[in-house]
Homo-oligomer: 154 residues x 2
C-alpha cells in the first residue's frame, strides 16, 4: 500500500500513527489542515527571511524555526489519506495525483524537509545568523522540490 508508505515517512510519523490519525480526520479536513500547516509554515519562513534581509532578532528567528520544525515533525503524512487527491465540495487542493502513487519520492522529499527544518531550528537555537541563513536556504529548497513535483499551483 503506497499510501501508507508515504504517510509513514512524511514527517517521520510511524506507520500505525498515520493510519490511526487518517482514520480520525475527514478527508476534507485533512486537506484543510495540511493547507493550514503549509500556510503557517510560509508565515514563519517569511519572518526568518525578513530577519536575514533586515535586522536579525535571534528570539524571533528561534521561535519561527521551532514552528517550522514542529510542522515538519508533526506527521503531515496523515493528512494525505484516501480521498484527498482532489477537491471535496468547496475544499480545493493543489496536490497532484502523482503524490499518491510515488511513495518513495514523496518519502525522500519529506525526509529532506524534516532534516532541513531540524537543522534550521538547531542553527536558530544557537543564534548563529550565518548558519541560519544557510539552513534557511536549504529548507526553502526542500519546499520547492516538493512543490515542483507534487503541487499543481505555486
Amino acid at each position: 500500500m503506497k499510501k501508507i508508505t508515504i504517510a509513514s515517512m512524511l514527517g517521520v510519523v510511524a506507520l500505525s500513527l498515520a493510519v490511526n490519525a487518517s482514520a480520525q480526520v475527514k478527508p476534507e479536513d485533512q486537506i484543510r489542515y495540511r493547507q493550514a500547516a503549509y500556510s503557517f509554515t510560509s508565515w514563519n519562513m517569511g519572518k526568518i527571511k525578513a530577519n536575514i534581509d533586515g535586522t536579525y532578532d535571534a528570539a524571533q528567528v528561534k521561535a519561527a524555526a521551532n514552528a517550522i520544525a514542529a510542522v515538519a515533525n508533526s506527521g503531515l503524512g496523515a493528512l494525505f489519506g484516501p480521498g484527498t487527491d482532489k477537491a471535496i465540495g468547496s475544499q480545493k487542493t493543489a496536490v497532484k495525483p502523482e503524490l499518491f502513487t510515488n511513495g518513495a519520492e514523496v518519502a525522500k522529499l519529506a525526509g529532506n524537509f524534516a532534516k532541513a527544518a531540524n537543522e534550521l531550528a538547531a542553527a536558530a537555537d544557537k543564534g548563529d545568523a550565518a548558519a541560519v541563513k544557510a539552513a534557511f536556504g536549504e529548507t526553502g529548497k526542500t519546499c520547492k522540490a516538493c512543490h515542483d513535483q507534487f503541487k499543481a499551483r505555486n
Copy 2:
C-alpha cells in the same frame, strides 16, 4: 497604543518584533496566517484527544504537543495588526472588534494559552499520559476562554 501591547504579549513576542512582523505582512495575509495557525493547532489538539481517549502513543502526542507549543510561542500577536478587525475582500474573519480594544485581557488570555501549551509539551516530552490529560484539559480551557470573548463564530 493598545495594538502594540496586545501584539507584544501574545505568544511572548517582543514589542519590536511584533511591529516589525506586522509591517511586513499584508492585513489579509495576517488573517489568513492566524486562521492557519489555529487550524493547525486544532488538528494537533484532535490528535492528542484521540490518544487520550484511545491508545496512547507517546511519540505522536509529543510531536502534536510540540506543534501546539510552537504555535503558541510563534508571536501570533503580529497577526492581529491594524486593518485585520474585519473581512478584507473574500478573506473573512471571526474576530470580535473588542480584541483590538482590550489589550490587557487579550494579553492575559494569550499568556494563559502559551503557559498551558508549554506545560502540555513538557508533560508530553516525559511521556506522562496522566499529566498530558490534565494539561490538555487546561490548554483547551485557554482556547475556549479566548473564543468565548473574542471569536464571533465557534
